[in-house]
């Protein structure tokens, strides 16, 4: 409950700042044709990115879970790795495919146009958000009950008709939870769309910040939050009354994998293109920067920055998961109007533009320090409050996988333990959490990768001199010192990539029927 409350506080801060502002100026800012134009662009881009991400993630999830395609775990790795790339680096990478000095120019000597505008923004945002869709679909595909498909086949449906009438409807919750995270990212993005020269409503937020006036900033921030709430309402609407789990006794057995045969070539081709754009292009660009001559050697700064990045990312991931478990349990095991609101409130924390989130944290922590002088020096820009800020901001990312995991973990095991007289804490530690092991790992991984890339919260709330890898990449590349930014960017890609690698190939035992390793769920 406390966590939900702490998510609401930043909203209250924004509302107070907005209310203080002269209403006529708010009206002048908002009620104009331009706002409609920008909102329209936001909607069009969000829609396009969702379609793109689904069209890319669906085949990859299908190939890596339902078919016998060789090298499935590698393909799975390629489906997750775009998540390790900071968004603006992805945009730079896609822009660098064309243009003077770009990839094509160096290859052939001809200058071609780079993807820009709506399509460029769609490609960059779609590519780096795609893993959210992929991870959700992947989990859903592995949970499909093959008996439904078999029933469909016995009724005379062909493969295609089965896909559209049996498989896809069952994937609806996964598509929706992926879509929810992705659309919240897209509406708040400014870095990618500005480089791609596509104007969305985030422009209003950005230019309000340039005026350095908190009141001006609060209004577009609240509009963005309202958009996020609309998206969440749509999510609730589409999920209403949905029952997908097996209602009769029995456990779904493992499905046999589909032989792709001559289709594997087409499959490899598709996967190759996705990995080229989503992984090889950004990694290649960073390596290219790395090979340029830097103004000054920055090598000595890389290791401390890595240590700082890890020192915040690990505890933040652990804490976020610790907060998400009770929320997900409450939402799933004790469904009620209140638990639903609690679950949704986490998404508000995620929808608050992170700069607004950071500013409200400054305000709140300074208020605390003023009221309780003993704490001075510990709350504002302290290490623990920083971890709390990350956890509250990224809570939504970690609730999703745990909730899906709980759909799968039958409450009967917990009930049996209870009947045997086991205490509820021991049931949680001994039964529920081990059942959720795979979901917990994915949920921690998502938060870890996000914190590795996070900027405004780190820049404003971290202890002084605490510049992480992401802050270094930004600070160098912002003023076009790309070769200095490169070692830090490379280090983000390698460490995040390595982390995903350990998750995929680390393996481990599970208690959950047919699944054998984390690789199975994530991969």
């Amino acid at each position: 409950m406390g966590s939900a409350l702490a998510v609401i506080l930043p909203v209250a801060y924004l509302v107070i700042n907005a209310v203080r502002r002269d209403p006529s100026r708010i009206a002048a800012d908002l009620f104009r044709y331009r706002t409609i134009e920008l909102l329209g662009n936001t909607v069009a881009l969000t829609f396009g990115v969702l379609v793109f991400a689904s069209l890319v993630a669906l085949p990859i999830a299908y190939l890596t879970t339902q078919t016998n395609l060789r090298g499935r775990s590698w393909i799975a790795l390629g489906g997750v790795l775009p998540l390790t790339v900071p968004g603006y680096i992805m945009a730079y990478a896609i822009l660098a495919l064309g243009g003077y000095g770009g990839f094509w120019h160096r290859l052939t000597g001809q200058v071609i146009a780079s993807p820009k505008g709506y399509w460029g923004a769609l490609l960059a945002l779609g590519m780096y958000n795609m893993p959210y869709m992929y991870l959700n679909l992947r989990a859903a595909f592995s949970d499909l009950d093959p008996s439904l498909e078999e029933a469909g086949r016995s009724l005379g449906h062909g493969r295609l008709s089965l896909l559209f009438r049996v498989v896809l409807p069952q994937l609806r919750p996964a598509l929706l939870s992926g879509a929810l995270l992705i659309s919240l990212h897209v509406i708040a993005d400014f870095g990618v769309v500005s480089l791609m020269q596509f104007e969305t409503f985030s422009l209003a937020l950005y230019s309000a910040n340039e005026t350095m006036d908190r009141g001006a900033f609060a209004v577009p921030a609240l509009v963005l939050i309202m958009m996020a709430m609309l998206i969440m309402m749509a999510d609730v609407f589409f999920l209403r009354g949905l029952t997908l789990h097996r209602v009769t006794a029995g456990t779904p057995r493992r499905k046999s994998l589909i032989e792709l045969g001559s289709w594997s070539l087409a499959a490899y081709f598709f996967v190759a293109i996705v990995i080229m754009v989503g992984v090889v292009a950004p990694a290649g660009l960073v390596v290219f920067w790395f090979l340029q001559t830097p103004l000054a050697s920055v090598a000595d700064g890389v290791l401390p920055a890595l240590v700082r990045s890890l020192a915040v990312s690990f505890p933040a991931a652990a804490m976020t998961v610790a907060l998400a478990i009770p929320i997900a349990l409450l939402v799933r095991r004790y469904p009620s109007r209140w638990s639903a609101i609690l679950g949704r409130s986490a998404y508000i924390g995620y929808a608050i533009p992170s700069l607004a989130f950071a500013l409200s944290f400054i305000f709140i922590s300074l208020q605390i320090e003023q009221k309780i002088p003993v704490l001075r020096g510990w709350i504002y820009q302290g290490f623990v409050p920083l971890i709390i800020a990350y956890s509250l901001h990224f809570l939504a990312e970690s609730i999703g996988p745990i909730r899906s995991g709980l759909y799968l973990a039958t409450p009967r095991l917990e009930e049996s333990a209870q009947a045997l007289g086991v205490g509820s804490w021991r049931i949680l530690m001994g039964v529920t959490l081990p059942l959720l092991r795979n979901s917990l790992i994915i949920s921690a991984a998502l938060v870890f990768l996000s914190v590795m890339k996070e900027l405004p919260i780190t820049m404003l709330l971290a202890p002084i001199n605490f510049d992480t890898l992401a802050v270094n990449v930004w600070s160098y590349s912002e003023d076009a010192h790309f070769s200095e930014a490169a070692p830090f960017a490379l280090c983000i890609l390698l460490s995040s990539g390595g982390f995903v690698w350990i998750l995929l190939f680390g393996g481990g035992k599970t208690f959950n029927g047919p699944r054998t390793s984390t690789a199975d769920l994530l991969a």
Partner: protein
């Protein structure tokens, strides 16, 4: 389970505890200086190392966007732990000095540089000059054809051939200067004419130059040093730049500047750092390494830059304090539909 949990938790607790410890103890007089820095780390870090070698004083830095830091400093108010604010542009320094958060600098520091390079109240000084220029693609436009004044860019002759960066703080500072020099109506008309003329919006300066090289546009309005850096890496880069006629508003010399926070408990040391940035060695570094203009005379500067006297001759006369009126500039850019 609990044993493994403990194995995992103990190092986490230790690390967290250690960071709590090291993040404590800020704002001690005579202790390390705290700098809020909107300038790139590539530029700042070597100078901090040099300052430490010369004085033994460590400078702790918070790097972020200039506007974000300015908002954070206003929010912090007298609880701020920052001693210095080093900004990318004059606008944000103006906002802070208007909010009464800047201390008055030692008059000796202020008097050591030309009046174009400090604010009237003596609360902050420029550390380097960043000139606005006209960049062009010599393959498609010859030097003789180039417009002589910024205003001529709205000419139908350049329809769809010009690029600028409306979200960029340097561009916005240039518009603020135009409003002061031309007046509101003339500026607004010009901006609207530029928009109708199909001027293309880019995210920032480097993308403008890349677009010139790629043939998307023929003229662009960036800051002067980005091209010089690109050329230092690749002298074949097919873009050139030049100033407008002397005194034209298109040659605005915006500045990066620094000031001492009023509630700093370390003011003397902070002033020392400002003096260091205005020293010949630091100024030479700005010029030679990052191609920005020195704010003092007698600095041996890069051969790619025009001389100090020539720059002062080219630059329009602008009161740096007035560049802080970003709010009205952004309102105008919104009215015209550029934001």
């Amino acid at each position: 389970m609990s044993c493994r949990l403990a194995k995992f938790l103990i190092p986490v607790v230790l690390v967290v505890g250690w960071f709590c410890f090291v993040s404590f103890g800020k704002g001690v007089p005579g202790g390390p200086l705290v700098l809020y820095c909107g300038r790139s780390k590539a530029l700042v870090k070597p100078l901090l190392d040099q300052f430490k070698a010369e004085t033994g004083v460590q400078v702790q830095v918070r790097y972020a966007k200039t506007a974000q830091l300015a908002v954070a400093l206003v929010e912090e108010g007298l609880q701020s732990r920052a001693d210095l604010f080093w900004a990318q542009d004059a606008g944000s320094l103006g906002v802070l000095s208007k909010s009464g958060l800047m201390a008055s600098l030692d008059p000796k520091i202020v008097d050591s540089i030309p009046p174009q390079f400090h604010n009237r109240g003596g609360q902050w000084v420029a550390t380097s000059g960043r000139a606005r220029v006209l960049a062009f693609a010599p393959l498609r436009v010859s030097r003789e054809e180039l417009p002589q004044r910024l205003e001529e860019l709205a000419d139908p002759k350049w329809k769809g051939r010009v690029g600028w960066a409306p979200t960029n703080a340097s561009f916005q500072a240039a518009v603020t200067a135009m409003r002061n020099s031309w007046g509101e109506d003339r500026t607004k008309k010009w901006l609207a004419a530029m928009k109708i003329n199909g001027t293309r919006n880019y995210a920032k300066n480097t993308p403008i130059l890349k677009a010139l090289a790629a043939g998307e546009i023929d003229l662009g309005l960036p800051n002067h040093y980005y091209l010089l850096r690109l050329k230092a890496n690749d002298d074949q880069f097919p873009v050139e730049q030049q100033f407008f006629v002397p005194g034209d508003i298109g040659n605005l010399v915006n500045v990066a500047g620094i000031g001492v926070l009023k509630y700093s408990s370390n003011q003397e040391l902070a002033m020392e750092f400002v003096r260091f940035l205005l020293s010949t060695r630091a100024q030479q570094y700005f010029s030679k390494q990052v191609f920005e203009y020195p704010v003092i005379d007698g600095v041996e500067s890069s051969s790619r830059l025009v001389s100090h006297e020539r720059l002062l001759d080219l630059a329009p006369s602008v009161n740096l304090d007035e560049l802080s009126d970003v709010t009205d500039t952004i309102a105008m850019l919104k009215e015209v539909g550029l934001l």
